[in-house]
């Protein structure tokens, strides 16, 4: 019998010094029954795209606090597309100024989450996005 699980890569690009938020999200997604691949600090966009491909994930969560999101996030999106993974749902969490959110969404990000977002909302959004993608 087929038994499908949602697989999510939680990635931290750039030079952030800690990954507490990323771990909180990883744990929340695990508790929602998902399989979360966690890769640790200081990943390059290339490393993130490579892991997303090898792990065949449904979604990629990018946690970023350093302010480099306008460079790193579009780069990850480009690499995912180049690999044929344009269907992967990408969401971003961390310290993202409100003014930057529209351009990230325009670039192809599904959602941007600031500090204080309830983890239940992230779980709901990912589940919905992945189910929609599966129907396409």
């Amino acid at each position: 019998m087929t038994e499908r699980k949602i697989r999510v890569l939680i990635a931290k690009p750039g030079l952030d010094g800690h990954d507490r938020g990323a771990k909180v999200i990883a744990r929340a997604l695990r508790d929602a029954g998902m399989e979360v691949i966690y890769t640790g600090l200081r990943q390059t966009p290339e490393m993130i795209a490579e892991a997303a491909l090898q792990e065949d994930v449904d979604a990629v969560g990018i946690s970023i606090l350093s302010g480099a999101h306008m460079v790193l996030v579009p780069r990850v999106l480009d690499l995912l597309r180049a690999n044929g993974q344009e269907g992967v749902c990408v969401f971003v969490g961390g310290i993202i100024p409100e003014n930057d959110v529209p351009s990230l969404i325009n670039a192809g990000v599904a959602q941007v989450y600031g500090p204080g977002t309830p983890t239940t909302q992230v779980v709901e959004d990912i589940t919905r996005a992945v189910l929609q993608q599966a129907q396409v």
């Binding site: 695990r30 929602a32 640790g40 390059t44 490579e50």
Partner: protein
């Protein structure tokens, strides 16, 4: 059929996204994944399967990282070997979710097209692997990787499934993990082809070495579950020391793996292990199939009635099992 055929072609041609997608289908037990595995099976049997097991925190992922690095960057005169890594982590029995964190220790391997890393959740299986690990390893073998390294769930004492899957099993210990009585208990130490004491810069390493050697001097039973032809020399598992975080002892470890490979080939143990692995797999699949057939053939109400008789102590569970598996024809026609 056509879709499967394309998938099979792409995997054999070494394309990475189709391979990743196939692994998902196999993990999910999807019919198209299993059909693709059928077609890929003739391409399997070439990769050297290396199992890496040991207690949580003994350094399995870090060692796998180092072994893969060494295989990719061999000393001059030797060819680099392509490496697939399957890293299994536990699924929560409460939520069905999992955090798969083995890649954190494998960042040195990023960007190398000769490496493919796949994390797997155990999804309720108890032997240290996931149910689908065998299929995933077959797919990676068919994709042409020279070496498939399988890292188990952090194993306690009885998670020995890896020895049935792998040609070469490494058991990783860390110093100070229990006294010498642990070394004579049945289970994980018995399956080692190579014993590795990682974190060899930590205190207590000498007594761990002593305990493991003492265990080996009393004889070791790897030949019991891995038969070799009579008259062939037995393989005595070497006890090696490594410090994975400092790349120490890795060259010796890879050398020991190569010696074991040569031993398997010269003694015929390679084929013996292959046969016994396939036999185990076949038996497991037959069990699943029989169980499915049985479920489909016995009316649920008959099961419920029989269960009720057990509950009221009219018959024992053994009698009930006999009744349900050898039902009288008149009890439930068809």
């Amino acid at each position: 059929m056509n879709v499967e055929h394309d998938l099979v072609e792409s995997v054999v041609a070494g394309k990475r996204l189709p391979l990743a997608r196939l692994l998902t289908l196999v993990e999910n037990n999807a019919p198209e994944g299993l059909a693709a595995l059928d077609q890929l099976f003739p391409h399997t049997g070439r990769a050297h399967l290396i199992g890496v097991t040991g207690s949580p925190g003994s350094g399995k992922s870090s060692l796998v990282n180092q072994i893969a690095l060494a295989l990719r960057n061999p000393p001059s005169g030797k060819a680099a070997r392509s490496v697939a890594i399957v890293a299994v982590d536990p699924t929560s029995p409460f939520t069905g979710g999992a955090v798969l964190g083995d890649r954190v220790r494998m960042r040195d391997l990023a960007g190398d097209p000769g490496i493919f890393i796949r994390s797997m959740a155990s999804r309720g299986a108890l032997g240290g692997l996931a149910r689908a690990t065998t299929g995933v390893v077959q797919a990676l073998d068919a994709a042409g990787f020279d070496i498939v390294l399988v890292e188990t769930v952090g194993a306690g004492q009885a998670e020995v499934d890896i020895a049935r899957l792998a040609h070469t099993t490494l058991v990783i210990e860390a110093p100070g993990m229990g006294d010498d009585i642990q070394a004579i208990k049945a289970g994980i130490l018995e399956i080692a082809d190579i014993l590795v004491i990682n974190k060899a810069d930590h205190p207590g390493v000498d007594s761990t070495v002593r305990a493991l050697h003492a265990m080996l001097e009393l004889g070791h039973p790897t030949h019991l579950h891995n038969p070799v032809a009579s008259g062939t020399p037995l393989w005595i598992p070497p006890v090696l020391q490594t410090i994975a975080t400092q790349s120490e002892g890795i060259a010796d470890l890879v050398e020991a793996i190569d010696r074991h490979t040569a031993y398997l080939h010269t003694t015929g143990a390679w084929q013996a292990r292959d046969r016994s692995r396939l036999q185990t797999e076949l038996e497991q699949l037959v069990q699943v199939e029989l169980n499915n057939n049985w479920r489909a053939s016995v009316p649920p109400e008959f099961i419920q009635e029989t269960l009720a008789q057990v509950e009221t102590r009219q018959i024992s569970p053994y009698q009930a099992a006999k009744l349900l598996t050898h039902p009288l024809p008149e009890l439930h026609p068809g």
